[in-house]
Amino acid sequence: MGEIKDFNCTYDNSAGINGEVTEGLGLTFPDAYLHADTMAKLSRALKEHDGAAFCELPFCHTVEAEAMGGLVNYGNDKTGPRAKEYICTKPEELLELQPIDFSKGRIHEVLQACRMLREQGEHVVLQVSGPFTILNVLIDARYVFKAMRKQPEVMKEVFWKLGNEVLRFMEEAKKYGVDLISYADSSGGVNILGPKMAEQVVEDFTYEFLKQVEGLADEHTMILLCPKTTFALLGTGHGKLKDHLTETGIRYGEACIRMTGKAKFAGQMCIKNVGYELENGIFKELVLI
């Protein structure tokens, strides 16, 4: 088994909302973050501003947690929605949280916005968060780290509870036409967890979870992995990269769109790095082993 390498997040492009984008759109904040039509409008404006090949939704990593009962500060035009106070102090409390109802609330609006954009002919990247990112809204990270050491079985249950909700979110997204489902959990990267704990997470959760996610990839849908997740799979011997030659000078997002139906997982670059061109036109598919 190798070593889990880290991928350095640069938080490029549209991490938060650029003021230039929102000017002239006639949107009011934070109201614009709450409704499908304004979300779609804003997402499209961001795509045009960034020169991206796709629209991205949502604008934050709080949607799943809010749908499970988490408290969110919706922010303003400069800073998007973010966590408010934590609602849990014990991992057992996390197991009691409500399942997500996709027919109401902001998560429903996000799905509706995805459908609107698809109907307008856009490719849509739905950014879905992994357990650590969701937990960031629900509970102080120190309780999570402590429980991982002292109550690993409970935490495994927590990961799977959240993982199953995420899986349902992805399944729902497909019904709304999302063609690119991005999965990231940068809060649980090796730079934070350290190599031992990062490996434990892959063994207890990520690998088996992604095996289930793999079943969602088809001729219309591709799964995009954050490179931190790619490296975690490669480093634990649960993944390998398979090269596909596309076209010299092609950007990552365009390559993902082109490879949909031919590859299940992409993960060689952060999807937020919209200007990234594939080296020698080689698209690297992540294959689970």
């Binding site: 800073t79 934070i192 350290g194």
Partner: protein
């Protein structure tokens, strides 16, 4: 009965090995034996935390380890602190710390707080997503010597410059040193906005704070 040295070692090891129950037990035994709380804190708990910091610097310990060590240290502090003799003249350097408004990523800030606290600074933790004016108001009220700010997002880093302007407006900019850090932050950015220093990680933050305050 255990000797003072044995109990100090148990306190230090308990912190270093992240075993808060052991720390609590050793701290109570230490007090019951009548040993001075101050030594228990400095030569036991802080010693353990310093060992953890060294391991962190050598990349043998990681963020999660340091946080768990600090949990154990705080358990011990809660037991020993009430038995510290009252001192009228406290020369601790005081620092206000927080994650700037708009950002909730606070792991790095928490590490800096822990490391600085271990190094003897008095830390006033404002938490995450902190309203910018609050840094200034707290620095003023508490007569702080340092203001520490962090963020992981490019969209919120501008808040650090705003705080510096607010400190100027409040007339206390020359009374505090401003330290910044976080993912997108660099020395160049610190220079640009007029901060006094930038540090890449928690260990460097302690060195920077000491250097800014001219402490050995």
């Amino acid at each position: 009965m255990s000797s003072k040295e044995e109990l100090l070692k148990r306190l230090s090891d308990g912190v270093f090995e992240m075993e808060e129950d052991d720390v609590a037990e050793a701290a109570q035994e230490y007090l019951d034996a009548g040993y001075p709380a101050f030594d228990g804190i400095m030569d036991g708990l802080v010693d353990g935390m310093n060992r953890a910091s060294e391991m962190y610097e050598q990349e043998e310990y990681f963020v999660t380890d340091v946080l768990l060590c600090s949990d154990a240290m705080y358990v011990g502090l809660d037991i020993l602190r009430p038995y510290l003799p009252e001192t009228k003249d406290d020369h601790k350097v005081k620092a206000v710390i927080g994650v700037v408004e708009g950002d909730t990523h606070d792991i790095g800030k928490n590490l800096v707080k822990i490391m600085m606290e271990t190094a003897g600074f008095e830390m006033i933790d404002l938490g995450r997503d902190v309203e910018l004016q609050k840094f200034v108001d707290t620095a003023k009220e508490e007569h702080a010597d340092i203001v520490c700010m962090s963020t992981l997002m490019t969209t919120t880093m501008g808040g650090m410059e705003t705080v510096i302007h607010l400190l100027e407006e409040a007339g206390i900019r020359d009374q505090v040193k401003v330290m910044i850090g976080g993912g997108p932050i660099s020395q160049k950015y610190a220079d640009k906005i007029g901060a006094d220093g930038y540090s890449q990680n928690a260990v460097e933050a302690v060195k920077l704070a000491k250097s800014l305050m001219k402490i050995a």
